[in-house]
Symmetry: C2
Subunit: 91 residues, 2 copies
Amino acid sequence: MTPESTVYIGKKGTMAYVLAAVTQINQHGATEITLKARGKAISRAVDVAEILRNKFLTDAKIKDIRISTEEISGDEGNTIKVSAIEIKITK
Amino acid sequence: MTPESTVYIGKKGTMAYVLAAVTQINQHGATEITLKARGKAISRAVDVAEILRNKFLTDAKIKDIRISTEEISGDEGNTIKVSAIEIKITK
């Protein structure tokens, strides 16, 4: 069993998510981190992955990147389609 | 030789790039399209890929997704690091 952990990327600053991922690895022993983001946060997820790989986890590798379309329920019973990304990083 | 084509995703509306990619395939015989984007345009590149795959090129597959960090020269001789994505789609 590989200890896995997911970090959901939202509207906070990039470094908040970098710190969350580093904490999962250093304090909770995760060896695989999945960054998940939707919509405009996708760019931030890529920033987080690149900062992790270049500065904080230089021995880490990007194992897989997947993109998809998710449907979100709107306030008025409608559905909105939004792009999503999953970036899997292994130590 | 596989006819390859690159579409650079910038600040225009998403559909402008979807149309550019469809034109490369339908009129110019490209069988492989690479979408490239940097910074905030990364989210738009994912949107373009998802719209292509779900609506216009339903037989297309995402062959590869790579992320990287590029250095851009600033106005004052400084360099700025920016995340980049390449999404390769094959017909």
